[in-house]
Symmetry: C2
Subunit: 390 residues, 2 copies
């Protein structure tokens, strides 16, 4: 198995762009990714492509992969849509690594694009609902906010986690997102703002929930055979892990953990020969603030049940011991379903190349991304290492 | 790159099953695939899965991959939806081969499942429409029948192809499908039936169009390292090719060829070190009879423009020089979008193992499958070789 490297990554702005096409957003992300490559990059070298998309918005339901890649001039290459709800392009990145390792491709595009705000609220809720478990959760009237409210309630009951701790996560996310020019909600929020916001699904307030965003992100992965053509100081994709679980919360063994995340991260740690102590910073899946707290625990960043305290004492702030979601995360940067996983990798790329501006984490060389689909029916984890940076 | 082998393949009946779930159809296909393996097969050995689905039918829009694999007891493995419209599970088979070649997996499931008949006609037409090119073709009122009618008209004008030649394809498909117990339309049809059927989109009559089907198919692919555990007389996946093109017919260089098919098949021939003369039989994408005639030409089975004559003189009949669509093809066996590509491989598996009953092609060892998405926005080709059968 040959090694795979991250050679480029870019994204569009995330926000509410009901008048934009999933194609134009993809083009912006693609152009930014191509420009991000350290040496000259000719798109004609892209061998194949994986495009994450849930097709919310009634646009191109079938064949959005070829439609997107042909639109940016990547003509005739194998191109396919990858879908695992919110983990679509995280899985896309895994496919890119696999394509490189297989020897079938040297340069692979993994990206995602989503337009969600061109539909009225009822329609968006419908699409989001059908990404949850359909036959029981959705038919019983539960939404994703409701499912994560159940997770939050269970975590509070079992470990004494508080709503204020959830708010600390939100405050930190917005603090970082305010430094990210691509963020959907790029403003700061106070603890008071988060606490006093309207309740969406008790105990979650508006500031404990990510927004509905439009946007695109693109990542470029290359093989060790060609890496010298693109980067003298490359980022190796050191570990990959992926797992599934029952799509419904009620099908799982635990309400206070995401078992698929645990399985995926353990694979990734084993693949990389690393553990949580090796990680310098991480982008984790915080569709709701409770999801970030559970992620701290699932990924081994803190002990089980201590995620709330970990957030509260500032461990995951930009200047903390393990910065998490320096991009602003899904909460502040935004969450255009199909683009989210690739966008996490954009942040890793910018950080490890020292291009993160005010958000820059100093002296970091190893990063982790964690992307889940639905409420944990799928999870995918990647570990990235800046070579020669030790 | 290590070799990948086809060790098992099975499908559900294809038909109109508005009362069946995409999950129960997938289970049937999965169980048939497991039973088809020559030696004992324990599903716990499946390392990862690719599930083709266009999600027509308003069922599980997000996460159908994990939902399907968890439903059949494949717990916690990486599982993801692959979508390229009608080429979804054909691309899934390619991902399975890639997963094996990458060394990340030893046994991989590629399948597809689709329920289309649980919706009223208008809704189905909507979903099918959005698999075509959305912004121009669909908005102008064109459907897939209309697009392939344009291809047929252009082929007739350029090469003198006749409607009767299209009908010969239909008669042959039904002749084969009548011998396939899984076929949706498992009855024979006469030349007169095909010619006199109502016009769908001139020059295409009802018998020149495939039906809207529900069903599922599952294929199991294994690495050379483990092949001895599953099969003493294995089928090697000797060649793989895939390509895209503009999703709209108007974006292509040709109305009388599918350029993506030509690119994909040339890759597959090169990968296998073979050419069209090596192929003993093939399953090609005949969503409309004209598509089969164009496929003969794109795949090099006959000269450009001679596809109609090739069909008329019976070259592709069961006892012809190059039997095509021995399963009955999309026309008679049926076309449940996400399952079609994998179902083509089911036919290859049964034929090469001598299990095709009345449809059996004698003395065959090399087969080709050809699966396109939409009207040619995506194409994927596989070549299979029964080892030691020479």
């Amino acid at each position: 198995m040959r090694d795979a490297y991250l050679i480029g990554a870019g994204q569009s702005d995330f926000g509410a762009f009901p008048d934009k096409s999933y194609l134009s957003l993809f083009r912006t992300a693609f152009e930014n990714a191509c420009e991000s490559v350290s040496k000259e990059f000719d798109p004609v070298n892209v061998d194949e492509a994986y495009v994450g998309n849930l097709s919310i918005g009634g646009r191109q339901i079938g064949l959005p992969g070829p439609a997107a890649t042909e639109h940016v001039g990547l003509h005739a290459i194998p191109s396919v849509r990858i879908e695992n709800a919110c983990a679509a392009s995280g899985y896309g990145v895994r496919q890119a690594v696999q394509a490189v390792k297989s020897g079938m491709a040297d340069v692979v595009l993994a990206g995602g694009t989503e337009v969600m705000n061109d539909l009225g609220d009822d329609r968006v809720r419908y699409w989001l609902g059908v990404s949850g478990e359909m036959e029981w959760e959705r038919m019983a009237g539960t939404t994703f906010s409701g499912v994560f409210a159940q997770i939050a309630s269970a975590h509070m009951a079992e470990y004494g986690t508080t709503r204020e701790q959830l708010s600390h996560v939100a405050v930190k996310s917005h603090e970082n997102g305010a430094k990210n020019p691509h963020a959907h909600l790029g403003h700061e929020c106070s603890l008071e703002d988060a606490e006093s916001a309207p309740t969406v699904a008790d105990p979650l307030t508006l500031y404990h929930c990510c927004p509905m965003s439009d946007g695109a992100a693109v990542v470029l992965v290359a093989s060790e055979e060609v890496i010298d053509e693109y980067d003298d100081d490359p980022i190796r994709i050191a570990g990959v892990g992926a797992a599934s679980d029952g799509v419904g919360l009620f099908e799982r063994n635990s309400y206070t953990a995401i078992p698929a995340s645990e399985t995926a991260v353990n694979q990734a740690y084993e693949d990389a020969g690393m553990g949580p102590d090796d990680i310098d910073f991480a982008e984790v899946h915080d569709c709701f603030s409770i999801a970030e707290i559970v992620a701290y625990e699932d990924l081994g960043f803190c002990e089980r049940g201590e995620g709330g305290v970990f957030a509260e004492r500032g461990a995951t702030k930009l200047d903390g011991e393990l910065p998490v979601n320096t991009s602003g995360g899904l909460k502040s940067k935004g969450h255009p379903i199909g683009a989210t996983g690739a966008s996490q990798v954009v942040e890793v790329f910018e950080q490890l190349h020292g291009r993160a501006g005010e958000r820059q984490v100093e002296n970091s060389q190893i990063a982790l991304t964690h992307n889940i689909g639905g409420s944990g029916g799928a999870a995918v984890v990647h570990i990235f290492e800046k070579e020669g940076a030790a």
